[in-house]
Symmetry: D3
Subunit: 306 residues, 6 copies
């Protein structure tokens, strides 16, 4: 399930002077309301990229808590600064970016929540409607393929979203790659479905062998120049880095690798991105949410540089 969406919009007409983070040389990082990256609260049509929370974990079959993710990521994102140290990009100087609040959800009703989340994003989508001309490409960082068919007789849960998305023609499986996949599985059906559909799965073992440069070269070729969506599940990271998640798998990627991967998205036509599965009740030091917030900043920088 999605938790933190970053939707890119097109209208960069107006100035971005008012869409700046709080100045940490004037207002300490522990002061003020914890918006995403200390940005102003904004309406979707005021900004180029909307930072949005989706506080929902309704489809979780085991350890819940990701519903609290957006709030804690906002909290930890107070540590995010302005200028990328490698590229020198300061995204807030290039575009208008703001915290557009949380999508409405119903904690007691999975289907009602999916509907209200969809409506919420549809409003944002209006702004970029022309860009949507069919199923999009998909670059997916995750420990899990999430292409099972069902659990407990339920077809919409945290193990099935991408199978549904492929079936519903939202994603183009031929332009879809999953990176960092690992861990024993309940049965092989999810990989079978994905592979049969044409999805490229890069297990952690292959990633370890080849490294970020080689894997991302393949990813970039796969998605090409057409619109692509990026999803980063925090459990792609090793549990030593990201213990605060519902389904940790040992042997994950490091943050150094994750940052390299995200930076290599540079140039891809990213129409949206999300960062999901941060579960604060399982994250006593806040380290998982801090990693999530920092990776959101990295994603923002590549989206802006495009």
């Amino acid at each position: 399930m999605r938790k933190v969406e970053m939707e890119q919009t097109m209208n960069k007409k107006s100035s971005n002077a008012q869409f700046q983070p709080l100045d940490s040389g004037l207002v300490p990082r522990f002061a003020g309301l914890p918006t995403f990256m200390r940005l102003p609260i904004a309406k979707p049509d005021e900004v180029d990229i909307a930072l949005v929370g989706v506080p929902f974990d309704g489809g979780t079959t085991n350890r819940t808590g990701a519903r609290h993710g957006p709030r804690e990521i906002r909290n930890q994102s107070s540590l995010v600064r302005r200028v990328h140290h490698v590229t020198g990009i300061s995204p807030f100087d290039r575009i208008r970016c703001g915290d557009c609040g949380d999508a409405p959800i119903n904690p007691l009703d999975l289907n009602a929540s999916l509907d209200s989340i969809k409506r919420f994003f549809a409003e944002i989508h209006i702004l970029r409607a022309l860009a949507v001309k069919g199923p999009v490409g998909f670059i997916h960082f995750d420990a899990h393929s999430d292409t099972y068919d069902s659990f407990f007789g339920n077809r919409y849960n945290h193990g099935t979203p991408f199978r549904r998305a492929i079936e519903e023609d939202l994603l183009d499986p031929k332009r879809m790659i999953q990176i960092g996949i690992r861990g024993a599985i309940s049965d092989a059906s999810n990989y079978d479905f994905a592979r049969d559909a044409g999805v490229r799965i890069v297990f952690i073992e292959e990633f370890t062998e080849r490294g970020p440069q080689s894997v991302m070269a393949e990813a970039r070729q796969l998605v090409g120049e057409n619109p692509t969506y990026v999803s980063f599940d925090i459990d792609a990271l090793d549990p030593s880095i990201a213990p605060g998640t519902g389904t940790p798998e040992i042997g994950g990627i490091t943050t150094r690798e994750a940052q390299a991967l995200v930076r290599l998205l540079d140039g891809i036509d990213i129409i949206g991105a999300d960062l999901v599965e941060v579960s604060p009740p399982l994250d006593p030091t806040g380290a998982t949410a801090l990693a999530g917030a920092t990776l959101m900043f990295e994603l923002l920088c590549v989206m802006v540089s495009a």
Copy 2:
């Protein structure tokens, strides 16, 4: 929602020699599988009182985690011993008691779970069918009245169970008392419903004033000699004692008071009891589950002494 049910059955014919806790002078408390109170695994029809888990928190509108409660209560219940230090009762010498496992639930479907839980207990109920002749009395220790009508358009959630139970004639509101209730409320409708139905609500302020003896004298008179169900929500306790729960309210009862209250149930015809809302992800030291396990033992002792 229920998490740990203790269902009393009638057939005390056979010996209880085989239904003894592990001997902690031979097997240390940290060894062995953590069954409730280190009792043997048993089938419902083998025992007089079945200890059962209901690992479900599907109706929770805010902080989840109680689904993990039965497992952690079992874990902490390894510290429970055999003989009550005040009454000298050793329940395991009087009845056959065992761990009958967990009720089946579906973490993705509230209604399916309620059905399967109901069927599970119906099987146990067969054993005591004659005792069920209508709505039962109800003694309820809780911070919350849990008699709201609905949340998020949903009528079956953690804020509504006793309103539903009254409406469905499971509980007799005239023989129902709620003790320890406190905390600001969303609106007054829940108390209004309860009072209109005839439920007796004892706020914590009244309890502080009168003490356990006086309040329980009233409770005993209220439920009389007919069958009565007892529910202990762990959030009746003060959050300093029981931080591991979804909806903590400051100003709660102490464990000394809770033990006094439970012991004063002595003599009532208790046909079942539960201990609910222990949420281990919010309970870093395990203290909440330990309090829950110890109160289960207190409940067991009064059920046995009846």
Copy 3:
């Protein structure tokens, strides 16, 4: 040092319809930005009572962290509801109340911070200027008298504020009472100063003996009908309830007692109140901040009922 100020203002002219907490039946408590009690962000001149944070711990000689207090109290205050269960008061129906943000501070400069905090509140004070006609009465719940002269050669720190306030004629020591004081002291000078100035100190031992009713009767007589300020240091509570504070002292008051004490402020002309010394890095479960948030609600209810 102050951390969470609640300043009462006078102009109740306009409607309070827009100053309502988020409806928790529509927006779950874990969603949305964590403002105080889920109230709207407001400017001081829009509201009758401004909820304000002062994220500052610059004068702390030992364990810091209270600078993070306002943010975490806001976070935990999502659990606060609308209607007081004893009095039935719904403060948000009576007055306009909002989150007016944090006072500006300089984490590297104690004196600069005191100046900017003073200026910030002076703006709010304009609204109630007529009410300020001299030193105010003061009801103080705390483990510590905080009337030392200096530490480390410094006269403005977390052990000296009320000595300074008396010396500067901000507080009237004859109308000042300190409740819950306890713990060994470095030397007797602070109590000597306070007593010589006419301050009434109620040690926890006297409080235990007499109870809230008797002590507050004395407090009410002492401050009379003139303007009075209320300060609640979270370390007045027992460390089992409020571990997240810099200077815990065992043997403190319980939340049941604290709620009784605050409710007995009813009828006093409270011109302002604060709740201080919540230190989240020392508060792993958030229990201290939750107690603080709930006591803020209790304070709000008595201020509104006046």
Copy 4:
């Protein structure tokens, strides 16, 4: 097993000017080596009362960790100050008191440890040898009677010390009282032994009924004017106050009660005292060790005032 011993010696000849705690107005409480109460390191024959650690938990049948107790109590005792707020006693002005280090122990050998601990204290005992004329009186605050005969075939463990002490004529059971005892027991043999020997057991229920004044009046009469030893097991406190201990029992005494109890030892001829069973690995906030350190200060004050 003993963890923190405070042995009183007789020779008060020399000045105590050099045996003062670090001045917290000059050296912050977080600075410097964490000796007990920030006192100087001393040799037993230099001081009147020696503060000594016994880092041993070798006889523990379930949850260990008390071996780390002395170090963490020293750490938390940095918060202890000089002057008792009720009696005005400043023990360090009356006697020479110092940190005399830890008794030698062998973590792999229970019997060798008991021997080396005994030898260590014998050296201190030389100083007060004349006072030892037979079995001493004993005032014992604890959740557990600790008078079992054996566990796992072993007669020297954390459940048996006082039975051994009675059998070995170290304690006079007729002048022995145990206060705060509670919790279910493995079997009734320990209480039977204690009662048969003449030990007075005050269950928590009796204590709740009578209060500190009445119980301690009885205790004082029981031990009379002859030499008496005091033992405070931290698990006498409620687990909400002292979670960091191996065998927590709900329904314990509060710190307010504990302080009242200790202060009522005033006038008794206390020849030694200990504070035991603080287990830091089970104490995430350090609250248990802080309670222990503060109660050591209370004990010190009554020993000095005698």
Copy 5:
């Protein structure tokens, strides 16, 4: 000291249909008693590979807690699934595997425990007696060589087991390799003993240089085709991954490396394996036990594939 033993037996005659883990699509992972990998409880002679706990830390000279390891590894092993994602092996389809409980131990007596543990495993050994024809080969993943002679005058403790095992002809030092060794040492005697005996020590620095492939090629050649025992001490892993252990050493192996190492055991005649030193009191998030449980699954898969 051993904590989790996995003993392989030979009789694969009967079907393994009844030795399947709980189906996580029917019974959620948080439900049910936490047996190893959710397998059925079994007797040793019913299964091919017995999963056994040894809840013992009696020989620990510093930080204890590993006695709680088997229970918490069982708890975390609820997250283990059926099919290895790289090899496709589903061990439960190939062999009969079950949870055979805990070896009996005496927490107060090191020698008695070693005896009872030995007798317990001897019963299992009967099943594979023919395979035991002399000292076995030994592949050891650890931070510590554990070949000291004695501590505190004691020759059987957590720093000496493999010296004893070599002296007692249980292990063949010529067919013994230790991988991941690191950290300063008390003195060089342990390495000297090991090297003189012919043990191959691979320090972490050499491992970093050569990588898993090269090191395991050497290990495989060393042990050859004869029976070999595998021991994995969780402190071989880096403390960022496995903080929950008594003797952490920085600079350890990652789980990606650990998984590669274990998979390269493929083809070796593994007659038994253990996973030791998980200490839950030092493991607040359960990450260490989860790593341990997952590595047990990896070990199981290579044992099955042989």
Copy 6:
């Protein structure tokens, strides 16, 4: 700001027999006062290398707590042993080394603290005065360049020390290298200043590319044979390893890399070294302080081997 200084002095005349760590085969690691590495307390002029704490975090703009660092590093350093496993160096056999206590600081006054810290070290410096002939070389492991000009109008804080040190001619920027730098920045001014002054900055990305050997070869050439100071900020490490620090940055160096880096300091004329920014309130498992203590031992070994 500095927290743990290790100052090397020159007079190795006398024996080091009395400057040995406690023998962990006689006194368990959990016993005794926690001095650095269990060394004796010493005066600066008695030792060759003084281990000193500087418990100060006065210049911190966000998350404080490093004032508690020296105490917790001392605590965790009880796990440090005598002999380096790679080089075989036992530093305590070569030089006299002791715990020389904490530098005096004033927690309420940044400037007074800087003065008293300076005076404290000047006394130590007397011993090596001849070695100080001008600005020293500087090898700096850190996530942050710490060369900003000011924050909150303050020029002496945790983001500016090395700019000040260059301006004051304490460091020679041409002989200065910063390794591991990363993370977004508030503005580019700090890097600009550093580069303009001639400082060599090695971003983590370059380090990842080249590895410890190559980077340290450059560092050694840069500082040459003249006196060099080494500073290790614990936030150079990845937050998964060192969560207990005020300004964590994902993507940091591992302890294996850190150990390789420090060992490659071998042969440099190190005149002093520090290990800073360990913040225990943010370090629930103590892992950060343990990493710090172990790296101090590594630093000590290279300083001794010079």
